[in-house]
Symmetry: C2
Subunit: 658 residues, 2 copies
């Protein structure tokens, strides 16, 4: 049964499994585990003694026929564990052939049983060519079966002395050919999945023992396709009452796994004798005594399960913002093109609900008004350009009221549908004397007078990506020379991320264009490998006497933290921060993000081919904002450690229409 019943919780993470040994009687093995409150077992499908080259003819010694469990039992409660002796990169050709044949037989049997997932044995450190070739062949033909490659979180060699791994970031032992650190188990995974071309049905099951790697090293896994974590009983400490518990770092890691939909599997011999159960006698073979529900003995791993369930239940319930965002996590969306397209009512509705954003705007207008006019004798001309259905008009009027200043407002909006709503709002609120509605594109409007303050909300996730610069350059014609623009400036930020899921989603379109497109996405199961850096800044107003040049070029150098090790970069997370007025800012750059704001997710710029960044290397990114007669677009390229092609040449795949 699930670790907890939380309302609306559909996370896979609420299911917990137990790794069991080979049994002729899988029916009993499963019943025993379910009786111990586990949701599923990870069980070998074949007798571990079986070797095709030594055997006689006939079918392999599978763990029972397909009839011993019902189809739904097989598929819901059993993860197939491929024989652990399988070693496809053995120097011994017979061992390789036995391994290949057995793996194929077992996977074929697992498919026959409609299992959801199979656990593949750990590959040799950086020596997995033949194993990966064989798995890759099978991946081409799998329908739904997921393959979980078992990878130790810390290489066994580094686990020997307790806790050393945490400090060891040098991974001193290097592969003589590639120079890669042999002891960094992430490298094993990376080589394997690269050979299998990032296949979406290949994911990771991490073995967790007492040692944890450095925080940077650990962080990499968040962006990888992690499906399961096998927590060994040896990972547990003992609390005062003799019960198993985990170290603080382990607790934090397990909790973060829950939030990324990772299932926990408990594995190993019980090392905690609690509730009078002696785990050395209470095994699945023993007959019923001291039972939980009268049928089975208490499961020896149950104390571990209970601790895991405790961690699960202990998590904070999701905030309102989290509940809103959960459905959007790691889901690619095409960015809005509000200049070319007219937004729909639904979209206005959603964005208008973002009270934090409008509070910030109100603060900014308030501060500007206080600076602008020393007393309330003068009427200030304030123009909202891109007024939509009126939220900035409301925020501005509220700020004026608060400041005790008189306003004359022009609400300029190019979408005729929004203008209809705007008119009714004004009537409803009785603002007829205060607000003039102008149904016009701000770049073309002939304003009857000059404005003191220009207020706009034209920012996209990457700041300028919805063409705020071009719109405001057009609108500043009717701003007084000493007038104020709110926002007064905005800056885009970008940083490299591991984002396996996003990469695969882009790849699944199977064309170049999608690899050269930016996506709005709530980044969740990603690993931010280095702090985002500033890209482009735009300031308003910008009186240059001529046409403002909004083309930009920036070269960025990202250094990964020393304790990260190597990593794979699937693309870049983009953000913005805007100065609305003086110290009133608004933004989504992670380190300075405005809290409780949901109007913007991040923007994701993919790479056509993920870039492997070796430990200690820097990543060099070039970013361009290009401007043509009818469109604006970005191009991007990586020049170190690898050289990528320039993405999106001439905006061939992705552009924003002027």
């Amino acid at each position: 049964m699930p670790l907890a019943q939380r309302s609306g919780d559909s996370s896979e993470a609420r299911y917990c499994g137990a790794e069991v040994g080979f049994s002729d009687d899988i029916q009993n093995a499963l019943a025993f585990a379910l009786g111990g409150q586990f949701d599923f077992i990870v069980a070998p499908l074949t007798d571990p003694e079986y070797r095709p080259s030594e055997g006689k003819a006939g079918p392999p010694p599978f763990a029972g026929s397909d009839l011993v469990l019902s189809p739904s039992q097989w598929s819901s409660h059993v993860v197939g564990k491929m024989s652990a002796w399988i070693d496809l990169d053995s120097p011994d050709a017979v061992a390789r052939q036995d391994a290949e044949l057995t793996l194929k037989q077992e996977l074929s049997w697992a498919t026959h049983l409609s299992l959801q997932a199979c656990l593949l044995p750990t590959p040799r450190p950086l020596e997995c060519g033949n194993y990966a070739r064989c798995v890759n062949q099978m991946l081409q033909g799998l329908s739904n079966l997921q393959l979980w490659l078992r990878i130790p979180l810390v290489a066994p060699e580094l686990q020997s002395v307790e806790g050393t791994a945490e400090e060891d970031v040098a991974f001193l032992k290097r592969d003589p050919v590639s120079g890669k650190p042999l002891n960094d188990s992430w490298e094993w995974w990376n080589m394997f999945r690269s050979l299998c071309e990032h296949h979406s049905q290949l994911s990771v099951a991490l073995d967790i023992t007492a040692s944890l790697p450095s925080p940077g090293s650990l962080k990499r896994w968040t962006g990888e396709p992690l499906r399961a974590a096998i927590v060994h009983t040896s990972a547990f400490l003992t609390n005062k009452r003799g019960y198993p518990c985990l170290s603080k770092r382990h607790q934090n890691f397990i909790t973060s796994l829950f939030s990324h939909n990772v299932q926990i599997i408990v594995s190993g011999e019980s090392m905690h004798h609690v509730d009078g159960i002696d785990p050395t006698t209470a095994s699945s073979e023993s007959s019923a005594n001291g039972s939980d529900d009268g049928l089975f003995p208490k499961h020896p791993l149950k104390p571990y399960l209970e601790y895991i369930a405790y961690l699960y239940r202990r998590m904070d319930p999701p905030t309102e913002q989290e509940r809103f965002e959960i459905g959007y996590r790691d889901f690619l969306q095409a960015p809005l093109q509000p200049l070319m397209d007219n937004l729909e009512a639904q979209t206005y509705e959603t964005f208008e609900k973002d009270s934090t954003k409008y509070t910030q705007y109100q603060k900014a207008v308030f501060a500007a008004l206080m600076d602008r006019v020393p007393d309330d004798e003068t009427t200030v001309v304030l123009m909202v350009v891109g007024a939509g259905r009126g939220p900035l008009v409301r925020a501005s009027l509220q700020a004026a009221k608060q400041a005790g200043r008189r306003l004359r407002v022009y609400a300029v909006e190019k979408n005729p549908n929004a203008v209809v709503t705007l008119h009714s709002l004004i009537k409803l609120e009785g603002w007829e004397d205060l607000v003039t509605v102008v149904s016009c594109d701000m770049r073309e409007w002939n304003a009857p007078e000059q404005a003191d303050i220009l207020v706009s909300e034209l920012l996209g996730s990457f700041g300028d990506n919805e063409l705020s610069p071009e719109c405001l350059d057009g609108a500043q014609r009717f701003l007084k020379p000493d007038g104020i623009s709110i926002p007064s400036s905005y800056t885009s930020y970008i940083g490299p991320i591991t984002a396996s899921k996003l990469y695969n989603d882009v790849k699944s379109y199977n064309d170049l264009a999608h690899f050269e497109t930016a996506y709005v996405v709530k980044l969740h199961s990603v690993s931010r490998l280095a702090p985002p850096q500033e890209v482009f800044t735009f300031e308003h107003p910008k009186f240059t006497g001529g046409k403002v040049d909004n083309r930009r070029y920036k070269k960025l150098l990202f250094e990964l933290p020393e304790d990260t090790g190597s990593a794979l970069v699937h693309g870049f997370g983009g953000y913005f921060d805007a100065v609305l007025y003086k110290d009133v800012h608004l933004g989504i750059e992670p380190s300075t993000a405005t809290p409780n704001m949901f109007s913007w997710f991040a923007i994701f710029f993919p790479l056509r081919r993920p870039v492997y960044v070796p430990a200690g290397s820097a990543l060099e990114l070039h970013f361009w904002r290009c401007v043509g007669p009818s469109k604006v677009w970005y191009e991007w390229a990586v020049t170190s450690p690898d050289v990528s092609p320039v993405h999106n040449a001439n905006g061939r795949s992705y552009w924003v229409g002027l």
Copy 2:
């Protein structure tokens, strides 16, 4: 006029150009060069003083209007030289903008003039992101114009001390970000073209001065898209009579360029005053005196041109084999599938002409007969499996006659069309008593008796790739236990190559399948980066008691010679060597290739993405021969320095039918 008139010579290399300075009067500049026997000029299109940011409105100061030359003169005799001051990676934003605008104007003008090629200025060492982005944008829209990126063969810094470059393979100065050697000019090219995604209209013009790099470094360029070599007058020595000449190494390099269709351009001030011409006075501006043809003074660069022409004329005329092969050079062909398809008469005709091959077979049969029977009393049963139209039958009978041995020949052939020819041959030659024709697949034939000798020619360019192993395993049923197979064994070889042209040809199909297919190709403009290594060996007969396992797996490690520097690997050249009988071999592995044999070209296994191999790194290749119920295929993957996906999983793109 061309350097020489050689019969059948259609090489671009016979045209030689001169690099000239900016002139208002390009008509006169061209006439002067043509008068000096040059075929074309490389001339700036714009006044070098021009800077858009400083200029007044109006069109740029182009070198004359398009009307000063006829369209065919522009296109046949002028290569546009882009302004040398263009520096798109300048830290100065105004300089960058001037550069971008000018480059675009000049290329647009060159397109208007229908020029065939433009020469682009040398990029900054490993700092060409913005330049490449700009060129890449323009490449997307070019129709026929070729862009030649000017790259010094030896970085200017290494040219300072004469001859040092030759020894300097360390390129000690490294880029602080990428760690790449800043002084290896090949790296500049590689970064630039990688950013431009190996665009087929982007190629190299190499500047050649007095220094040459190490042989390994030089060799890399053979596989690159080299269109022109700009030989500076400073590269020349002076012979006893005061005339310019080149060092032996320069001569060899220039001659090798000729054979790869590279055009020579002479550049620089004349440093040799020969024929009474003082080059300091004889410039294109001076009026006619001491002229060649009464119109112009003798061209100051003519002595250099004459020396280049001398090198060109001095080349050996092509051999018969070269004349046969020339049309096939670097041309991708699908490998034959003689087992699945029936060959056509034309194909038999071509292959039967390869007398060297059949001489080797005759030698092998002769040696086998001498070993097999001590005297001529016994009749030897010899079966030709895959007899085709009979060439091996003829070679075998000739060997028997030579050896004084009696033969009974069975000619087994599955292609019914070839069998028709076979019957007429036997009648024509009067071999009715000696030869029995069997119209049957050797894998199915019920032989009436056991053979002493089995002769076959089922080898493909990669040895086993036309399924010789499977055919001969099937045929060995009717070979005596002590019988002989000719060939008795064969081995495939493979080695990494730079093959820019082949890569682009594969890429132009724009699909995955062509990147996972092997091609038969006469490798010519490629650079073999490391000696080929053995891959798979098959021996015949192979009596195992059961089915022979013809699956194979080999891991290969290639180390590039120390003096090569870094290189780009586009794929692998494959070859074979066969032992026909004892010391009689046959093969195309370059170091042991049988001379004057044209039946086999190499085989090319492409990589989906070229692999950059840094200086001093090794390349690790995995190669598999996989066997299914109805087909045989290869899979391949690189695991160092980069990890590629496994190519051709399950033979999805390329396979040979059983």
